[in-house]
Each structure stands twice: as C-alpha cells, then as structure tokens.
C-alpha cells in the first residue's frame, strides 16, 4: 500500500535472456555471449518448447530465431503478443527479406537482426532491449503503485477527485456535492496524501497515468 511495497525490479539480478533457436551451436553461442556479460539465460530448442514454457512474471528479453523446424519464429512472436507477453523480442534470421522484417516489426519486435551479427551488435541490442524492458517494467511498477494508491480512495474522496480533475474550485465543489467547504478541503488533503502527490498538478498527472 506504499512505495516500499512496490515491486521496482533491480537491474539484472532476476532477469533472464530467453534464447529460442533450433541450431544448437547458435543457441549455445548466444547463451555464452549473454552469460559472459553475467546474465542468466534459458534456452529452448524450438518454438513449441518455448510456448509450452510458462513465462509468468519473468523478466528479461527474448532472442528468437525465425527459421526453425516446426513453428517459425514469427508465429511464436505472434502468439506471445496474443498472450500479452511484454518482454522485448529480438528477431534473428539467417536469411532476411523485407516482408519478413515488416511482419516482425508489425508484431512489435524490439529489433530485427540478420545472422551473422556484426561485432557486439547482438549484445548491444540485448542490452538495449533489457534497458527498454527495464523502463517498461519500471513504468508498469509505477502504474501499479499509483493504482494501488488510487484504490484506497473512498467514494466520497473519488467524487471530490473527479471535480478537482475538472478544475473546479473548492467552493464550487462544495456547492455541487452539497457538502461543506471544510469537508471538501479535508478530502482534498486526504486525496493528495493517499496519492502521494505534492500538488494538484502532480495529482492530475498521476491519475492520468493510470487512466491512459
């Protein structure tokens, strides 16, 4: 119910790079690269194996090969999106063509790389993907925090909040809600406190964050 209980993740400690490639050497080389940078990896030998794996709330990013026997990488990507998995996906292919790249990007790939990658290119992209994931994760955590604050507001406070958001002054709110001016002021202070906001302007920003 407060900021300390919010799950703001640490940098790399519990994040994993998920590697999906049907070529064992390719798979292991990515794993080697990632582990050399001190990160955890988990490898999958094809798309099915990966889809059968329960990602749950796991953090990290996905390195996905396109051309695999069985389900192709792009189909795996589409399925993940369908499932609402937000982990960034780096799509890798040995033989790229424009339609394939377009589809991958449409499906929300973080990036689209061609094998073999230039020096450090794969790792740079993994880092960038992880950074993005961190941002997304932070954002999500922040949203969750605001939401939980928001959820503590009472009906009376919510009614006052709506009027505040509409920019009405306290006197008008009191008249509209048929309550005393003092009551309005009290509730306004409670709202700011509950929402951990310093000002009305900050409060408005916070509420807009969760309302999109």
């Amino acid at each position: 119910m407060n900021s300390s209980s919010s799950p703001i993740p640490p940098a790399n400690s519990d994040r994993t790079v998920f590697i999906v490639d049907d070529d064992p050497a390719a798979r292991e080389s990515v794993a080697a690269l990632v582990s050399a940078h001190g990160m955890a990896t988990q490898t999958f030998q094809n798309g099915e194996a990966f889809l059968n794996f329960d990602l749950g709330q796991r953090r990290g990013c996905i390195v996905l090969d396109v051309r695999m026997t069985g389900i192709t990488g792009l189909d795996v990507q589409a399925e993940l999106r369908q499932r609402g998995v937000l982990l960034p996906v780096i799509v890798i292919t040995g033989f790229a063509d424009v339609p394939m790249a377009v589809r991958a990007m449409h499906q929300g790939a973080f990036t689209f790389l061609e094998k073999p990658c230039a020096d450090q290119e794969l790792w740079r992209n993994i880092e960038m993907a992880l950074d993005q994931e961190q941002i997304v994760a932070n954002l999500a955590a922040r949203k969750r925090e605001i939401q939980s604050n928001y959820d503590t507001l009472t009906d009376g406070e919510l009614a006052v909040l709506e009027k505040l958001l509409q920019g009405e002054p306290n006197k008008a709110i009191a008249a509209d809600l048929d309550m005393g001016l003092r009551t309005v002021e009290m509730r306004r202070a409670t709202i700011l406190k509950k929402m951990n906001a310093d000002s009305l302007a900050q409060l408005v920003r916070l509420v807009l964050t969760i309302r999109g």
């Binding site: 292991e28 690269l33 051309r67 033989f95 061609e114």
Partner: protein
C-alpha cells in the same frame, strides 16, 4: 614278200578265192587273205591293204562314201581292180574315180600282170610314199596337238571362196562335228550366224585381202555359243600370194581363248577394282618391306602426305627420306615394335601432310607374309582429324552445358547456402564476442571461455565442410574418371541439397546396396545427375502436401558389370505423351528453366556408356533409372588427346 589282198564281199564277185589263188600262185607272193567287209574303205585308209579288189557294183551304197577314200588310196598307189563286165560303170569312170586299174571278170588272166605292174610301181614309189606317210603322220600329230590345244587349222582359198579346215573347227564353235563336218558350206553358214555383224565384216575384209593387205593378221572376236554365252576366239592368218603379189590363200589357225580371255578380263577387273578401292577410298594404304622401304603406296598417300612425289619416287624409299627426322623416328620406332612383337598395332599417329598441317591419323599396322614367304608391314590410315575435333568440340560443349547447368543449380542453392553458412558464422561471432567480454574483465576465467573456443573451432570446421560441398561442383574443369564409391557420392549430393531439402521438407528414403563395386566415373558429373534428378523430383512435388513428399534413392548391382541408380518421387508424374521427349533439350513442363536438365543428365549418362530411362512409379510419381557400366568407356581418341595434351 607278203601281199595283202582284200576282196569285197559280194556274192556276185566273179572270182572265187580258189581261182584267185591259182591265178596268183605263179607270182610267188605270200597272200594274206583278209575278210572283205563293207568297211574295206577303212582297211584301205589304215594302210593294211596293199591291194584291193572291188566290185563297185556290189557296193553301190558305199561307193560315193568311199570316194574320198579311194582318192586317197589311189594317191598311195594301191591298186583297184574293179571288174564286172556287165556293170554300167565304164572303166574310164572308175579310173577317174581313182581306181588303180580296171579288169573285167573274164580278165582274171591279166590280174598277175596287173599286180606285177603295181608291185613294180610301188617299189619305185615306196620311199616317196613312206616319206609322205611319215610327213602325214607328223602332220596329223601336229594337228592332233593343235586340236588338243583347241587350235583349228584352216586354209581359205581367196579366189574360189573355199574353206578347208581341220575337223575341230565345229567343236571350237560349240557345234557337233557330225552335224557340221569340216570344210562344209553348212559349217561356214553357221559360223556366219553366230558372229557379230561387225566381226563378220572385219573377217570378210581379212579373207578377201587386197594386194596391199598386211602379210599377217590376228583378230580377237566373239561368237555366240549355243549355250547363249558370248565366247572369245583368236584368229591368226598368213597371206599366201602369187607372183603378182595377189593373195591367193589365207592360211591360219583359230584358237579358243575364251578361258584365257575371261581370266584376263577378270584379272583386269579385279586389278581395276583393287586399284579403285585403293586409290579412290578415303584410306591411305602402304606396304613396307623388312628393310622399312616402301613397296606400295596408294594414290591418297601420294596426294595427302607427300608433295611433289610420284609413285615411283616413293617406292623403295625409307621413311627417313620422306619425313622429317623427328616424324620418321617415331614411325620407325613404332614399326620396329611391330616387327619385333609380330602384333598388329592401331592408334593415332600425328603426321604432317603436304601443306604442312599435322593431321591425326587413325593407323592400323600389321605384318603379313606373301606366298613367297616374304614378310611385309602393311598399313592403313584414316584421317580422323575432323572427327576428333568434332568429338572434342562436342565434349567441350557438353562440359560447357553441364557447367552452366551446375552454375544454375548453384545459383538456386546460393541463398540456402548463405543461410547454411550464416548459422555457424553467427555462432562463431557470438562465441568470439563472449570470449572477448570475459577476457576484458579482470576476473576473466580461462575455463569459462575454453568450451567457447572449442565451439569456434567446431563451427569453423562446419563452415569449411559446407564450402567443400559446393567447391568443385561449380568448377569448369573436370577430373579424369576415377573409381569412386557410388553410395558416398550420392550421399554427398544430398548434403549439397540439404539447405533446399530443409526449405522444402521432403522425406528422403535411401536404399543403397552394400555390395556395390567401385565405379569409374567423373564424380562431378555423376553428382550433377543426382542433383538434377533430385531437384526435378522436388519441383515435381512442390504442390503436394508436405506429408506426401517422398524421394527415394536406390542403388543396385546389375551383374555382371553394371550398376543401377534409381531416383523416384511421389509427385504427379509425367503425362505419357510427354515421356518420349523429356530428354530432348529445350523440352520443359516448368514455367522457368531452359529444359536442359534432363538432356544434360542423359548426355552425361551416355558419355559414361550408360543408359537412362524414365518410367511411371506405382501408385504415382516417376522413377528415373540410370544404368552405368562399372568401367566407363572413355573414348579412346579422347584419352589419347588428353594424354598428348599433357
């Protein structure tokens, strides 16, 4: 002295034997009485009778027949006593017919005197008669000899137009002597009928010669034998002239030369045939003796090989006198081998011709012995230059086409190959980055990077394997045939196709015989066959559901000396009406491509001495069956060219 008397058989003969004996007894002759028969004339001719007593009236039928005989008997001074007083024959007639004397039946008393006259006369003429008989005998031998030799004698009386000839004239013309007696008009008429009209005119001129005519002549002419054949005769004649140089007689011989003539003609034909065959054919022919000198060369030898040489200037010459030292040395070396081994030799010799061009000759050389036991080296050479060049061109063209085809295949495979290479390259890059990262850290652990370095090594090897698969396949030059394991070759082809097989999933079914011998082939070309057939099969099945796609490759031994390779698919097959033309170039059912694939496959198979057939597979699809000899026959000339090119 013995006196042979012959008495005609005639009942009417007036004198009995007893009367004759008593009449002749005073003469003291030993008289051998011969029986008298109508063949008396024969006895007379045979000279067994010294004296004949005949009653011509008793022999009326024979008289005319005996006339020549009596004439001859008379010339031999035999006495004829012909007697009947009552006969209507007069003594004058009888004497003119050749009777030696004529007595009448009542003149028996005159017989001794007549005989004595005869004997005295014969004594006078005896040596002359003997000489004449001897001459006659010799002449008859000559005639017999000539007749035996098929030569007929004749005398032509130009003035009277009368022919006398030996009795074998008729047989020479294939006529019966009985039907056509010698010197008869009937014979002359018949001869006139069996000669060509032209010959009759020529012979007519010879037989009625002008004073200016040559003294001798000879003529070969033909007549139509009763069996229908035209046969050859040879007429020779000598003119006999009178004091005014006017020809009075032609004397000569007629010879049957048909057999000789036919033989000569046949010989001439055969020689002409031989000469034509030798001189007008495309082969150079020569014969050398044991000294290596030319005994015979044909016209082409002179025309093609030697400039400014005549037949005579080549004969008895040595190769060193004809060719440059280097060429001659090679030829002589080869000849020596043949003389020593006694084995015929054949092969290519490069010999310059008159204009300096070096031609490639297919030469066959052999030894032979003639009927006199002399040994020779015979040779026949055929100019193969153009053929060899054409074969070489065809081979180059085939190789060029095959090369283009392989390049095409590589073009199709290149994207798959790129992917194939990208996999290990990707892995290597990643492993290398990982190693670098670890090493850049102060706490970098060697043990951590060791497996990654090993992986880098493994992936590098994997890449070179991929490159090895395609390298060589696209190269233009082909190695000479080598003995290979066919199954391994097939497997390597399928490796080459791996990327494509991954892209277009298909089930590969191998049924490779384990008892295959090594097969001598050009490996790249055989790979190309397999790649083309498998690619075709893949393309044939591209609209089939993935689960139905099946390519079968099967190898078998085909005793005694062949192997079979079968590539089958499960596609829709080839319509029967197209089957006959699928190996024809530029025939294709596909929208892309030149339609060269199968024709190249067939060319390659055939250049290996094999065959390929396409047949429907049950229940569907096609089977391409290739039958290859274990030892591919490389054209001998090409081997030689290949060798000489080295």
């Amino acid at each position: 002295m013995t006196l042979h008397l012959s008495i005609a058989v005639a009942e009417k003969f007036p004198w009995s034997r007893k009367q004759l004996e008593s009449a002749l007894a005073p003469l003291g002759y030993d008289i051998a009485w011969l029986s008298c028969t109508p063949a008396t004339g024969t006895d007379l001719l045979q000279g067994r009778v010294d004296l004949a007593l005949l009653d011509p009236s008793a022999l009326p039928a024979q008289w005319e027949e005996l006339r020549p005989t009596t004439a001859q008997a008379f010339t031999q001074h035999q006495l004829w006593a012909v007697i009947p007083r009552r006969s209507n024959l007069t003594s004058a007639a009888l004497l003119s017919a050749g009777a030696g004397d004529v007595l009448y039946e009542d003149e028996l008393n005159l017989l001794p005197r007549a005989i004595e006259r005869f004997v005295a006369q014969r004594a006078r003429t005896q040596p002359w008669i003997a000489a004449a008989r001897e001459r006659e005998f010799r002449d008859s031998l000559w005639c017999q000899g000539l007749e035996t030799a098929g030569v007929s004698l004749w005398i032509w009386n130009c003035r009277e137009g009368f022919l006398e000839c030996s009795h074998n004239m008729a047989p020479i013309y294939g006529l019966s002597p009985a039907e056509y007696p010698e010197s008869s008009q009937k014979l002359i008429d018949k001869i006139g009928q069996v000669l060509d009209a032209d010959d009759v005119i020529i012979i007519g001129k010879l037989f009625f010669p002008t004073p200016e005519a040559d003294d001798t002549f000879e003529l070969e002419y033909r007549y139509r034998h009763p069996d229908g054949d035209m046969r050859w005769l040879w007429l020779q004649g000598i003119l006999d002239r009178d004091e005014q140089n006017v020809p009075i007689r032609v004397i000569g011989v007629l010879t049957d030369i048909n057999e000789r003539k036919q033989t000569a003609l046949m010989l001439r034909d055969s020689e002409a045939r031989f000469r034509d065959f030798m001189d007008k054919g495309p082969c150079v022919v020569f014969i050398k003796n044991e000294q290596g000198r030319y005994e015979y060369v044909n016209q082409l030898f002179l025309d093609a090989i030697i400039a400014d040489h005549t037949h005579d200037s080549i004969i008895d010459k040595h190769d060193t006198e004809i060719y440059s030292p280097e060429i001659a040395e090679k030829i002589i070396e080869r000849d020596q081998e043949i003389w020593q081994s006694g084995q015929a030799w054949q092969g290519i010799e490069h010999v310059p011709v008159a204009n300096g061009t070096v031609l490639s000759w297919w030469v066959v050389k052999f030894l032979y012995t003639n009927s006199r036991g002399e040994r020779f080296l015979g040779g026949v050479a055929l100019d193969l230059t153009d053929k060899l060049k054409a074969e070489e061109r065809a081979q180059i063209l085939l190789e060029e086409l095959a090369h283009q085809d392989r390049l095409g295949t590589i073009g199709q495979l290149v994207s798959e190959l790129a992917h194939e290479l990208n996999q290990p390259l990707y892995a290597v890059t990643n492993f290398a980055d990982a190693c670098l990262k670890v090493l850049s850290r102060p706490d970098g652990s060697r043990t951590q990077i060791l497996p990654w370095l090993e992986q880098i090594q493994a992936q590098s090897k994997r890449m070179s394997e991929i490159i090895r698969r395609v390298s060589g396949y696209g190269s233009k030059s082909l190695p000479l045939p080598q003995a290979v394991k066919l199954n391994e070759l097939i497997r390597s082809c399928c490796e080459l196709l791996t990327p494509r097989l991954r892209k277009e999933p298909v089930e590969m079914e191998f049924d490779l015989a384990t008892d295959l011998p090594l097969v001598t082939v050009q490996p790249t070309q055989i790979q190309q066959i397999i790649v083309n057939l498998v690619t075709n099969a893949l393309e044939a099945m591209q609209h089939e559901p993935v689960t139905h796609r099946l390519i079968g490759i099967r190898t078998r031994r085909d005793p005694p000396d062949h192997v079979l390779i079968e590539v089958s698919d499960n596609g829709p097959g080839i319509p029967p009406e197209l089957l006959p033309s699928i190996f024809v170039p530029f025939t294709t059912t596909k929208s892309e491509g030149m339609g060269l694939g199968l024709s190249i496959v067939r060319s390659i198979v055939e250049s290996h001495g094999g065959q390929i057939v396409a047949q429907p597979r049950q229940p569907r699809g096609m089977i391409f069956q290739i039958r290859l000899p274990i030892e591919a026959p490389v054209p001998y000339e090409l081997q030689l060219l290949a060798n000489s090119a080295r």
